[in-house]
Amino acid sequence: MGSTFSGLEIGKRGIQTHQQALQTTGHNISNADNKHYSRQRVVLTANDPIYDPSLTRPGVKGQIGQGVQIAQIERVRDNFLDDRIIETQTQKSYWSKKNDYFNQMEITFNEPTGSNLRTLMDGFWSSLQDLANYPEETAHRTVVQEKATGLGLRMEDIHRKLTQMRDQSNRELESQANRVNLIAENIRNLNIKITKSEAVGDNPNDLNDKRDELLQELSGIVDISISRNDEDELMVYVGQQILVQGNKRQNIEFNYRQENEGYPDLYWSNGDKMIVRGGSLQALIEIRDQSIPERILKIDSLAINTIDVVNEIHKDGFGLNGKTNQEFFQTRNLATNANGEIDRNEDGVPDGTAIFKVAGRNQVDSKQPIGISGQIKFKNSKDEEIVVSYFAEDTVPKVLERINKSGSGTVAYLNHDSQISLKATSGMNYKESFQLRYIEDSGEFLVGFGGLLVASGQEGSFDSKKLGEITKFQSQTQDITLTPGYHPSSFMKLTSEIQVNPLSIAAARGNDVGGTGDYNTSNGHKDGSNALLLASALRDKPVMFDESRTTDDFYNALISKLGTETRESKSESSIQSELMVELENLRQSVMGVSLDEEMANMVQFQQSYNASARLISVLNDMLDVIINRIGA
């Protein structure tokens, strides 16, 4: 037979349990607006009934229930959804970070409307046309000066903006990497706390929520994968590397590299290189090491090719004051000596020759078959030999086109004097750009015919890896352009002669006396034909800006590629955001707090509480009867 007071105990348990359940409801309601909070649910379970089936069992029929108790407070959460959200978050922040920077780049170029490089180029071209029309007037010369200065300034400005953007991306990269370290540290601390409280049988729901929140933030920065296989140890991986394992973690460290213009690479504290495949970190690395440098190189290429094409024609012309062999834009050479010798491995001793462009001595006829055959060898950026053959029935433009399509990093064109010119393109990075690597001709095309190389065959080949290779060319010094200093777009200024004296702008053409290929003898003309040549080189004449034939081709390709990439990042980022919203909604439907549900629960728990209290009150009445009425 049970205790007299056993009913009271059941009532008390009911009150306590439902009070606690109400508290949880209150906790839920208070956190209704907390995005990372997962709804908690009190799991009630009946107390073990009496009596156990044992020998000491009293002879009472039926088991008597012993009321309710809280089995656990669980959080309602779907880990599968969490994992999907983490994946999507990685994608989303990758694209949105990319979109940020591409937008900025796009704004830098300010296309297609407004003042931009293209309109400035157009303005420069127009001013040259006007100069050609009125070569004797100083006013039009001043306009050319101003337009060219404006073009140079904008070029420098774009270079500066892109470089600043690169610095900014690096700063952000460093701070994001530090953030990863910080989050990892927090997760580690939470791991310790969670393990401890689970050891004593608790459900550390709120700590778990916090950890999940941190994991989601982490997944935005870097592509993580989470392993929950071991209940005691949550493991967070980045690629193959462990970021956090239980109470241990790895640090991300910076390794500043000279080759990458002083920008750091990310390494693990165990010395391995960090491989990132997603998240804003990857976006930032790509932007810093690819997207922006690519554009800087393009602008560099635009600048150096414009400078070179203008200078090459300008040098052959005459100013109104009779000055000739003047450069229009200033040039800065990578090499310190006139032979273009540079120190590639930076050991203090020159070890190679850096030449950007070389033009032949001979004027060639572009319509006649060349009548000779042979093979020209170039080397591409991977140091592989590229062979371009030419045959007797080829015309010069045909051979040049073959060179241009060979992908050798060397392009060829006929300059304003119908001389064959070879020019280096922008390469993989700024250090390897604008340098002719290797030229060899087994026959006479570049030798006797074009007048570039002194001799055929390997002995006569030009190899940028050797010293003093400038002597392999028979071209005049003024027909050889040395490789410009790094980032030519950061330095596009008029020479002081042109800046000070607009009369020195060479609008008139000279004569080639002595067959030197040098038009440095005045023919007394003060015409505008040189200005017309300049104008046409900036517009429709194929003078090869990298692999593009004209400036327009080159620039339009640059903008359209930028536009396409920006568009891709924009649409990807909006798709991922949509997806994220959907997933968040889905997750909210599981773990989010529904006020209606909580209110219903509240009513329910309140009523249950009331009922339990009522039970106690009934038992109280019963006891009152027994104690006060019986025997009184």
Binding site: R118, W125, A132, D512, D527, A535, I559
Partner: protein, 416 residues
């Protein structure tokens, strides 16, 4: 919370769309960044550059037409004067001024012609609106025709007053070019040594070069056209090459193995060896001692050919001398040739003006077409965009309306 999120998201999205549409409406532009529509943006950039180009070409064309018009009207005036000279010449030659007074009258005509000569020289040295001489080729710093004066003797052996004895061309043969379309150039000037020329020019060498063989690949220019000579070319080869070149001159080999060059239209022969070339000097056409540009004709070579000025000076001298026969014969004939040459260049100039005017029209069409393409490419369709805007507004209103309804009720509202 879910409904709330969705509502806010949808409202935000609509607001973005509204903003975009409003931007389009206020700017009239469909796209503002290349990424909005990379293909269209590239087209736009091309169209804009092209428009800039067309504007420049139109300016060039307008400028060219003005210059050519000035050249034309100047040549017209020269023609008028030449006609007057012709009338005077005919009068002087037909013998009506015979007798005692004859000489006086011829002398008077001579004076009038002298004034006409000065007028023609003034016209030949005329400057255009920008102060640039029109007939000097590219030479702008000095007048193209230089006068030498002196005191010629009349038939009585008395020195008469200061008169023009000769006119030399100090300009060059360079055409002033205007680019009227990518890579398409039109000359908007005519060099004075072509227009103001009366008779065909010929140069005959006195040298005897039966075995002349070119020792190197070299070239020379006749009237600015380059003729390339290869190693081993003989005199005959050279003559052949000259005759096959697109120049208004022919070369002949004469009996003494010497060479003669003569123009097929009246103009001055403009000869120069290119670079180290020495062909013309070797053949005795150019003076081997002189290195001046354009070359100086060898003093040993015989040059025939008169400029309009030479013809008029000759005529005046003949009048002063009273040489009836020459006045009515050669002089009159030469005047006719001069008039013909002026007319020829007027028609050339007219044809060029025509071409420019036609091209101007084409540029006008091009401009219209490109502007239209640009507008189609970047301009918005206003009715459509306004419809879109209205549509978005309506949706936005609905969303707000519905939102206010679904957000409001909760169990809270019914628990009291």
């Amino acid at each position: 919370m879910m409904q709330n999120n969705s509502l806010i998201r949808n409202l935000n999205r609509q607001q973005l769309d509204l903003d975009e549409t409003q931007n389009q409406l206020s700017s009239g532009l469909k796209i503002r960044k290349p990424s909005d529509e990379p293909g269209i943006a590239t087209n736009q950039m091309y169209f804009r550059s092209r428009l800039n180009e067309i504007n420049q070409f139109q300016e060039n064309v307008t400028d060219g037409i003005q210059r050519l018009n000035m050249v034309d009207s100047t040549l017209g005036k020269v023609g008028d004067i030449l006609q007057r000279i012709r009338v005077l010449t005919v009068q002087a030659s037909n013998g009506i001024y015979q007798g005692d007074k004859g000489f006086e009258l011829e002398e008077a005509i001579g004076r009038e012609i002298d004034e006409h000569l000065k007028a023609i020289i003034d016209l030949a040295n005329a400057r255009d609106a920008t102060g640039r001489p029109m007939f000097g080729g590219s030479v702008v710093e000095r007048l193209p025709f230089e006068i030498t004066t002196g005191y010629p003797m009349n038939r009585n052996g008395i020195n008469i007053e200061n008169r023009i004895l000769g006119v030399t061309y100090k300009g060059d043969t360079v055409d002033q070019l205007r680019e009227i379309e990518k890579g398409e150039y039109v000359a908007v000037s005519v060099p004075g040594n072509k227009v103001f020329w009366g008779t065909n020019t010929s140069i005959t060498t006195t040298g005897n070069n039966p075995d002349y063989i070119s020792k190197a690949d070299q070239s020379f220019k006749i009237d600015g056209v380059e003729i390339k000579i290869n190693v081993g070319d003989s005199l005959d080869d050279i003559i052949d090459k000259i005759n096959q070149s697109p120049i208004e001159a022919k070369a002949y080999k004469l009996a003494q193995n010497n060479i003669a060059l003569s123009t097929t239209t009246p103009h001055q022969l403009w000869l120069e060896d290119v670079g180290t070339g020495t062909v013309l000097k070797d053949l005795g056409i150019l003076d081997s001692e002189s290195f001046e540009n354009g070359g100086v004709i060898s003093p040993k070579a015989v040059v025939n050919g008169q400029s309009i000025f030479d013809i008029i000076i000759q005529l005046r001298n003949d009048l002063t001398k009273g040489d009836q026969e020459k006045i009515g014969g050669k002089d009159l004939g030469d005047i006719d040739l001069a008039i013909e040459n002026i007319l020829r260049y007027r028609s050339t100039v007219g044809a060029r003006t025509n071409r420019l005017e036609e091209h101007d029209q084409k540029l006008g069409y091009d401009k219209m077409y490109t502007t239209e393409l640009l507008a189609q490419n970047e301009g918005i369709d206003f009715p459509e965009t306004i419809m879109n805007l209205k549509w978005l507004e309506t949706i936005h209103n609905y969303a707000l309306n519905v939102g206010s309804k679904i957000i409001k009720p909760s169990l809270m509202d019914f628990l009291r």
